[in-house]
């Protein structure tokens, strides 16, 4: 257990955070008027032996707080705890306060599976907020399907999956890629693309979709290079030279982890000035969280395609950012995945209330069509395929480490985890 996670227990309610959350959520369609626990007898709302009592319900939080992935997953844990605290301050779910049991996946996929089994079998948690990498999700998936658990998974990912036991609160690949490519072609007149990524499933699948879209679904655009480097690679001079030689209009970068820092620092040191847009750098892997490590001055001028930026100017988001900073510290930054993790407890609450039950089968049945008007990213809705309808946005990195939103889709983008024509 490191830094912030141990600072606050669930009962230690922070007044201002709660107030801010309260105003943000008054718009919620499912805001209970005065739900009392005795209106929902435990025997009726929990027929499968979950950890539900007359005044509390227990859920699990399963992220890495030690090991390599702690860098990314800490934000998700913080967001989930904030959401739980706010829900409790509003009276909980069906009159019951949420307790959580937090387990550490320790950046190790078999550990994730083992801890998931512990949460579902021993602790009988009603749902789990957790996982970050696709590898950890794939590791826990059989456990959740075997024991009929219910997982809220926050990360944008490669798609090609749809489990009855998972709600995907991040974007699948097409939601993140297509609108961004259309935008850069339409607004910036980009014709040629250089695809770059770390060498594992998410960047490769995403670049495959990007390539299909560039070659088959847009006019006069082409891919002039595609390249992968091992995870943790720190020397990008060669690829930067190649880029300089091929002169693409857009560098489409899906570099992750520590490599990210090396890539942008070396890009800048090599004299490629992203503020001049020749070439344009468009990424789907750098959130505000990553910029802290990269340094704002090293990525100034790059574009990122996400569904959420901390700088979004709407009332929900302003309240969310305030509450988050109030709870976890002024210098916190909030990236796309952190916001998606924040949606998990709220979506589960809405689904439980719609179902009038904590039973996983009933919650699953009630989930499609669940709406949140109070999400920091704006209105979202759960699709039949368990992913979220959400908008896609393009932001431009500024030296202070924040993004300035330069584009957002007019409508919600339909999630399509098995896109036809892109396989």
């Amino acid at each position: 257990m490191t830094d912030d996670t141990s600072k606050r227990k669930s009962g230690d309610v922070n007044r201002r955070a709660v107030l801010a959350g309260g105003t943000a959520l008054t718009a919620s369609l499912f805001l209970p008027k005065s739900v009392r626990a005795q209106d929902y007898p435990t025997a009726e709302i929990n027929t499968t032996g979950l950890a539900v009592t007359d005044d509390a319900v227990t859920i699990g939080i399963l992220h890495s707080i030690t090991g390599t992935m702690a860098i990314s997953e800490t934000g998700s844990v913080q967001a989930e705890k904030l959401a739980i605290e706010q829900i409790n301050a509003q009276g909980g779910i069906l009159g019951r306060k949420i307790d959580y049991i937090q387990e550490d996946g320790a950046s190790d996929w078999p550990t994730f599976a083992e801890k998931a089994r512990k949460l579902l079998v021993n602790d009988k948690v009603a749902s789990v907020m957790g996982c970050w990498t696709s590898a950890s999700r794939k590791a826990v998936l059989p456990v959740f399907e075997q024991h009929n658990g219910f997982l809220y998974y926050p990360t944008f990912y490669e798609g090609l999956e749809q489990s009855p036991n998972v709600i995907y609160t991040g974007q699948e690949a097409t939601q993140q890629i297509i609108a961004g490519l259309n935008w850069v072609t339409r607004e910036k007149g980009a014709k040629t693309f250089y695809l770059l990524g770390s060498d594992y499933i998410w960047p490769r699948t995403s670049n495959k979709i990007a390539r299909k879209h560039i070659e088959n679904f847009m006019d006069g655009t082409s891919v002039v290079g595609e390249e992968y480097y091992p995870l943790g690679h720190t020397q990008f001079n060669s690829v930067i030279n190649k880029i300089r030689l091929r002169k693409p209009d857009v560098i489409y970068a899906i570099v992750v982890g520590g490599s990210n820092v090396a890539f942008y620092k070396q890009l800048k040191a090599a004299g490629i000035d992203m503020t001049e847009e020749s070439p344009i750098v468009l990424t789907i892997s750098v959130t505000e969280d990553e910029i802290r490590g990269i340094g704002g001055e090293n990525i100034d001028g790059a574009y990122a395609c996400m569904k959420y930026f901390q700088s979004l100017d709407n009332d929900n988001n302003i309240a969310f950012v305030d509450a988050f900073k109030e709870m976890w510290g002024e210098d916190m930054v909030i990236g796309d995945v952190t916001q998606a993790a924040y949606l998990g407890p709220w979506l589960w609450k809405a689904a439980v209330e719609a179902a009038g039950s904590f039973d996983v089968d009933k919650v699953r049945e009630a989930s499609p069509g669940i709406e949140l008007t109070s999400a920091p990213e704006g209105y979202v809705k759960v699709h039949e395929n368990h992913h979220l309808w959400s908008k896609t946005r393009v932001g431009r990195a500024k030296p202070d480490g924040q993004y300035e939103v330069v584009f957002e889709t007019a409508d919600l983008v339909e999630p399509d985890p098995f896109p036809e024509g892109y396989q």
Partner: protein, 308 residues
Amino acid sequence: MFSDYSWADLGAIFAMQGFAGLTLFAVFVLMALGLAIIFGQMGVINLAHGEFMILGAYVTYLVSTFFAEYMPALFSLYFFVAMFLAFLASGALGLLVEWALIRHLYKRPLDTLLATWGLSLILQQTYRSVFGAREVGVSLPDWMMGSLPLTDLIEVPINGIFVMILAIGISTAVYVMLFRSNWGRQVRAINQNRDMASAVGINAEWTDRLTFGIGCGVAGVAGSAFTMIGSTGPTSGQLYIVDTFLIVVFGGTASILGTIASAFSISQAQSIMEFFLSGSMAKVLTLLVVVGILMLRPQGLFSMKLRK
């Protein structure tokens, strides 16, 4: 694979890639020198080498924050102070670790492997607790960030040149210390025959401690320099450890010159191949060649002449 490019392009490619290779070479030398001292001269397999480097990086981060806060006028010079302090911090930690851990294990080299691996985990978690799990951003003075345009295609990054000068400076210093100083003579004597060296009055215990400390200190300087090109986080050290061992083993463990030759050949091969193949393939081919050569020549490129 050459047919896609014109002759002029090919010329530029080899010039650019040659320079990229030189930068990589300098990085490799910096990474490997500290380990070459510790592994090569003392036979200690130090798996926590990457963490000693990252300690240097964190010191650089602290110094840059301090200068930005209290002495903004001198910010452009902070890097030199940071490198010096990084050497002291990593060196001091090295002395401590040698005293507390390594000296009990000289007779059991395989146990040092486990012990230092454990140490690396402890250090990682310590960094995580102290500095947070997220990477920290080290801001650099402006003069280090630019590049010198030579031709339309060829641009030379200034921090690349800086790393190269640093690599040359430190290699020279290590060479002089090992082969021209009293301490160096003692280190080499102990390396050749420990008991005999003690018998003629060399304080083996203290020499070992100092050697380990200096090796770690050099790692700290390398880590400090790498804030220019890489990330500074609790686990960033892990990114370097494999390459570092590869270079030292390939070069011949007991030879500083071998380390430099091996860093040069690996970096140039990798950099040229990276251009014509993909990044992952270049790495695979490099490793294959290294494995092949080590099978034919297990002692590495260069080795000490020893009577067996």
